[in-house]
């Protein structure tokens, strides 16, 4: 019986050969499209997706029960005031004013450190100075000569703090507390400029007085923290560069010819009033050569984007928001297209990709209506929906020889 079945199989192979084996080459070029990623992320999830010194919180939006403004919170530690600073006798801290005890101090505001070419205007920033007193002495503290200074341009942005903080005595185990808040209401400087997030130092001079004699131990200190709160209401733009490394094995290089093209499809539905423009480059991080710019194309029209067109379009804020809807979402779909033979340049994008080892992304962010200084708000409910997929055409041509080798004949 087995023999009979083998005869049958042999006969079928014979028939197959009659129909197919007289062809020298099998040209098989299917195109496959597969989804890779589906994402829906709020602004907080996006910013918290990587380790950051930024704390993102939400505050209930004015006049609503279900909407929350998104805000950024940066906390910087200022240089503490130590017991040794006071020229007391023994452990005593004499009751008097200390106008010249501390000179002008400065601190680099970390919240401004990670952006370049940025231009932000937050409408209602707030700065809370938090004092943490380990000494058994009550202090009255005022900050004088307060301003920030742009690191690059040297331009100073002064602001006034008129209030005096009353800092309760405490101990290292149970520090006494005191706070000093600065908002647009008590400063003559436009805080929107003062804390616009370009790299900046903040300068201040502590003016201290002791209303009644107290005591302190060596090592005890008055810690100062500056907590900058930026409700995300305003307008701005920024440019950010990111490098995404990749590696392709040497064996894979042999497969270059097997790919006609690769489309990396990126489809966005954006509820955030924020647009993103992307320029991508294939780079060699060893020589740091830019090998090629990766062109982006509009998925529907196939027209190449010029590098200034938004890859992620900005949503349009509604005139009248509801508890669930604050913007009209924007849609866009773009392709990163790599060809074996680029129709424009005639070069092989895919070979370039194989020669490089990283993609440099130059991303430009801009709020809706930025050019007209239009203020937008970002709410916790706003999300960016993102779908990424890959489409590729495989050139799986097989020659008679390779087929013969494949089936072992």
């Amino acid at each position: 019986m087995k023999k009979t079945l083998l005869y049958l199989l042999a006969g079928e192979l014979f028939v197959f050969c009659i129909t197919a084996c007289n062809i020298d080459e099998l040209a098989f070029r299917p195109t496959y499209a597969i989804p890779v990623v589906e994402a829906r992320m709020t602004i907080g999830e996006i910013l918290n997706s990587r380790p950051s010194e930024v704390e993102s919180t939400f505050e209930k939006a004015f006049g609503t029960d279900s909407l929350f403004n998104f805000q950024l919170v940066y906390t910087d530690t200022l240089e503490p005031l130590t017991f040794e600073s006071f020229a007391g006798t023994g452990n005593s801290v004499p009751a008097r004013s200390y106008p010249n005890l501390f000179k002008l101090r400065s601190v680099f505001l970390r919240m401004t450190g990670n952006t370049e070419s940025g231009d932000f205007r937050f409408i209602n920033p707030r700065v809370d100075f938090v004092f943490n007193n380990e000494m058994k002495t009550e202090f009255h503290l005022r900050l004088d000569s307060t301003y920030t200074k742009n690191v690059k341009t040297g331009v100073e942005f002064p602001f006034d703090i008129n209030d005096t903080a009353i800092i309760q005595p405490g101990s290292s185990a149970s520090p006494g507390l005191g706070t000093l808040s600065v908002t647009n209401e008590n400063t003559n400087g436009a805080l929107t400029d003062v804390f616009s997030p370009t790299p900046k130092f903040m300068f201040y001079k502590p003016l201290l007085s002791v209303p009644a004699q107290g005591t302190a131990e060596s090592g005890e200190r008055l810690n100062i923290y500056a907590k900058v709160t930026l409700p995300f209401t305003g307008y701005g733009q920024a440019v950010r560069n990111d490098t995404i490394p990749y590696s392709i094995g040497e064996d894979d290089v042999d497969e270059i010819d097997a790919i006609d093209f690769i489309y990396l499809r990126m489809a966005f539905e954006n509820e955030l009033p924020l647009e993103v423009t992307v320029n991508a480059f294939i780079v060699d991080t060893i020589s740091w050569d830019t090998l090629a710019q990766v062109r982006l194309y509009n998925s529907q029209t196939g027209i190449a984007l010029n590098g200034t067109a938004a890859v992620v379009p900005a949503a349009t804020p509604l005139q009248t928001i509801t508890s669930t809807t604050t913007t009209t979402p924007a849609f866009n779909s773009s392709d990163m297209r790599l060809y074996k033979e680029n129709p424009t340049s005639g070069l092989s994008d895919i070979e370039t990709l194989f020669n490089g080892n990283a993609i440099l992304l130059n991303m430009s962010f801009k709020t809706t209506g930025y050019d007209n200084s239009e203020t937008v708000s970002i709410y916790s409910s706003q999300a960016l929906k993102f779908n990424m997929g890959i489409k590729t055409r495989i050139d799986a041509s097989i020659t008679r020889d390779s087929l013969t080798n494949l089936i072992g004949l």
Binding site: V15, I34, A39, M41
Partner: protein, 825 residues
């Protein structure tokens, strides 16, 4: 997983196919193997043994749309692939049948009974697939018209954004052993009827069948998200040990039964009809039977789901890839993972139907027509075959046929058989043109039999077959063994009327009516006729034979079955009221020359289209008087003016009949007469306040009073004062009155109306008197200054016409006045 791989191997190693066909073998009835196509067929020799050395071996490949050319097109580039896809229907198949007889032994008992026993192995395999499945295989799921090189590919083959319909896609693969016992018997006089049956016991070896499949794949054009929908049910019974992958024969586990039925009937010695139904049966699969099923509904995969928590963890693409794969597999498994059972199941054999007709041309040759059909997955697959079959004695058999087989038109079958002593070798194919690019079928059968007990004088007419030109039919020696049934001296094979005595002049047929047309060709064998009508008569010689001529003795035309139409108006004379005049059907063949619907005989104006109201005459101007009685036929006019209109001599738009002044233009309001203008100033008297004095239109026909003249009047009026309670004019008034007098002297056509008025102080009578006096006082003064009395008209009204309030001093002052107004005749 291993089992799925095994299933795939069984299916695809089998290279898809189905159901034995044997279109050529059907007509090689002298072979024992022809009984596989019709169980009533029996070989000519009494004993036949096959299968021991070279048993009958059969193989067939068929497809519904794929040809050798299209197969190569598929793999030679997209534009060529399109040509192949165009050939496919919505649902298509690929098939392969194969079989071999291990032994086939048959023998005849008492001439009329024949038995044969066969032990065979057969396999039927088929793959059914949709056009979209082929598109998916060739172009993938992501191809779109916008891709480079796809400009000329029809959009329906590019599946991005469209559902790839795989409904009905599946496999049928059955391999089994068969032991069959044929019994055939001849009935009726001259063995005209043969009936045969072959019951068979089946031993299933392996099977895979897609019982149900309804699957679709949709790739979203924007996100590339993939949606799967559908369900499937797959049964299989594979005799391969799962532990060590070795084959283990299932023995009698998969038992089945089947039957072939056949019959053939000889209407005459030359005509035979035959029919058969084969492979009615089933196999119950019990050996390692497994059933996979899923009812997936709809499953959508849009990529690895990323939210904030995943981003925290996904610090590299590797982890993202793991997430992607896990998501996909988990989702697919939960949605489309197969439910597995080990229930037994049953498959039916692919039943096949044959209907044949054969005509014996000579003792050696016949023509055949065969219709063959089978049904798989509710699809009828049919073949139609024309064959020519020839045998030279028993030594050589030759068969040629042409088939249309499932939309394939390139099928030329050939078959040969050779009898050398006891050896009977045969090879045949349903399609020798399988090498052509458009071929979709390939089939062959071959084998070797041993035959015994073959007769040397089969028709037993005393003439040995080798000397007998008609070895199958008893005949006479003078005709070399061929018969002359009607004994007219013309042997049957040259006698066109073998059952009726005739003459050699008419190839053995008679001519009873003597019209020189043989009865066999004479439709009217008992009435002399003409060749044009196959021997039937045409008495009136109008080219229409009498049997179809309604007027057989009068020459007529075909339109009226041989009856005449003299005036050639298309109405035959019999029903034509005017047979000599061409007419129309509405008037039974009578004419209506002016085509106004009134026949000429009743039309007062037969040459002019008219109406019935006027006996067929027209009324061109529609004034109710027909043209033949209308003096003005083209101009509407009243009947009492003989159809002509009345005149309007003065052209004022009012006909003279209604015009009081027919020769002078005038308005309707004045009955066609003009208004009078006595003073000739162009203002009609009815509108002229001064009808006898030429004036100006602006002053309603009165002479124009210039502004300075009006000033003189106004000044005289305003300056006029009297002594209190008297009619004495104050001196202060004189100057202005003098100027007025001077003006009046110049204006001889003016008349000054002087009207005196008072307030209501005092009695009415005294006031009236005072007003009279004062007006006359003014008149006298003016007269004294040279104004003719004829130009002065004096009136007085007392207190009767106040113009202001008499209760105030101011009002009373205004009411005390002498008005002076110029008037004209």
């Amino acid at each position: 997983m291993r089992k799925l791989i095994i299933i795939a191997l069984v299916v695809f190693a089998g290279f898809k196919a189905n159901a034995q066909q044997d279109l050529t073998l059907y007509n090689a009835r002298y072979l024992q193997q022809a009984s596989f196509t019709n169980a009533s067929f029996t070989p000519e020799c009494n004993v036949t043994v096959g299968g021991i050395l070279f048993g009958s071996t059969y193989g067939r490949i068929g497809s519904s749309g794929i040809t050798r050319r299209s197969l190569s097109n598929f793999i030679q580039g997209p534009e060529d692939a399109v040509k192949s896809l165009d050939r496919l229907k919505d649902l298509n198949y690929l098939e392969l049948d194969a079989g071999r007889d291990l032994i086939h032994f048959g023998f005849r008992v008492k001439d009329k009974n024949y038995f044969s026993l066969n032990a065979s192995v057969r396999t039927f395999n088929s793959l059914t697939y949709t056009k979209d499945a082929a598109s998916l295989l060739i172009f993938g799921n992501g191809a779109s018209i916008d891709d480079p090189g796809n400009e000329n590919i029809p959009p329906e083959y590019l599946l991005l954004g469209n559902r790839a319909d795989l409904d009905g896609t599946g496999v049928e693969s059955t391999t089994y052993g068969e032991i069959g016992l044929q019994y055939a018997r001849k009935f009726l006089e001259d063995d005209k009827l043969s009936i045969g049956i072959r019951p068979k016991v089946l031993f299933g070896i392996a099977n895979v069948q897609t019982k149900e499949s309804a699957i679709g794949i949709t790739t979203d054009a924007n996100t590339f998200g993939i949606t799967l929908d559908g369900n499937y049910l797959i049964n299989n019974s594979i005799p391969i040990d799962q532990e060590d992958s070795t084959f283990s024969y299932p023995g009698f586990s998969n038992l089945g039964f089947g039957v072939d039925l056949g019959a053939s009937f000889n209407f005459t010695e030359k005509m035979q009809v035959s029919a058969s139904v084969n492979n009615l049966g089933f196999i119950n699969w019990k050996n390692q039977s497994t059933n996979y099923s899923a009812d997936g509904g709809s499953f959508e995969f849009r990529g690895a789901l990323i939210d904030g928590s995943i981003l925290d963890a996904a610090t590299s693409f590797d982890s993202l890839g793991t997430s992607f794969a896990d998501d996909l597999l988990d989702s697919l498994n939960s949605q489309f993972g197969a439910d597995t059972t080990e229930d037994n199941y049953r498959t039916n054999l692919p039943a096949r139907y044959n209907l044949g007709f054969n005509y014996q041309l000579t003792d050696r040759a016949n023509l055949g027509v065969l219709m063959n059909a089978y049904n798989i997955k509710k699809q009828l697959r049919a073949a139609f075959t024309l064959s020519y079959n020839y045998r030279i004695r028993k030594a050589i058999g030759f068969h040629a046929n042409y088939s249309i087989n499932n939309r394939s038109f390139t099928n030329l079958g050939l078959g040969f058989s050779f009898n050398i002593k006891s050896y009977q070798l045969y090879v045949m194919s349903d399609n020798m043109l399988f090498f052509l690019p458009n071929s979709t079928n390939m089939q062959f059968r071959g084998g070797l039999n041993w035959t015994f007990g073959c007769s040397n004088d089969k028709d037993k007419d005393g003439i040995k077959d080798k000397d007998d030109d008609c070895p199958e039919t008893p005949g006479e020696a003078k005709f070399k063994g061929c018969p002359d049934t009607d004994k007219d001296g013309v042997m049957d094979k040259e006698d066109k009327c073998p059952e009726t005595p005739g003459s050699e002049e008419f190839e053995g047929c008679p001519d009873r009516d003597g019209d020189k047309i043989a009865d066999m060709n004479d439709d009217c064998p008992d009435a002399p006729g003409v060749p044009e009508f196959n021997g039937c008569p045409d008495t009136d010689q109008d080219g229409i034979q009498d049997s179809e001529d309604d007027c057989p003795t009068v020459a007529g035309i075909p339109e009226f079955n041989g009856c005449p139409d003299t005036d050639k108006d298309g109405i035959q004379d019999a029903v034509d009221d005017c047979p000599e005049q061409p007419g129309i059907p509405e008037f039974n063949g009578c004419p209506d020359t002016d085509a106004d619907g009134i026949k000429d005989s009743e039309d007062a104006c037969p040459e002019k289209p008219g109406t019935a109201q006027f006996q067929g005459c027209p009324d061109t101007d529609a004034d109710g008087l027909p043209d033949n009685k209308d003096n003005c036929p083209e101009v509407a006019g009243p009947i009492d003016n003989k159809g002509c209109p009345f005149g309007d001599r003065d052209g004022d738009g009012i006909i003279d009949n209604d015009d009081s002044c027919p020769d002078t233009p005038g308005p309707v309001e004045n009955a066609g007469c003009p208004y009078s203008d006595l003073d000739g100033d162009g203002v009609y008297d009815k509108d002229d306040r001064c009808p006898q004095t030429p004036g100006v239109f602006e002053n309603q026909g009165c002479p124009e009073i210039k502004q300075e003249e009006q000033e003189v009047l106004n000044t005289a009026f305003s300056n006029l004062e009297f002594e209190t309670g008297k009619d004495v004019i104050k001196a202060s008034s004189f100057e202005s009155l003098d100027k007025l007098a001077e003006l009046l002297v110049k204006k001889t056509d003016w008349k000054l109306e002087i009207a005196g008025h008072t307030d209501d102080v005092g009695s009415e009578a005294s006031n009236l008197a005072l007003s009279e006096k004062r007006s006359k006082s003014v008149s006298k003064y003016l007269e004294s200054k040279g104004v003719p009395i004829t130009q002065l008209i004096v009136k007085w009204f007392g207190e009767s016409k106040p113009i202001a309030d008499n209760t105030t001093a101011e009002g009373r002052a205004q009411n005390r006045r002498v008005e002076m107004n110029v008037i004209f005749d």
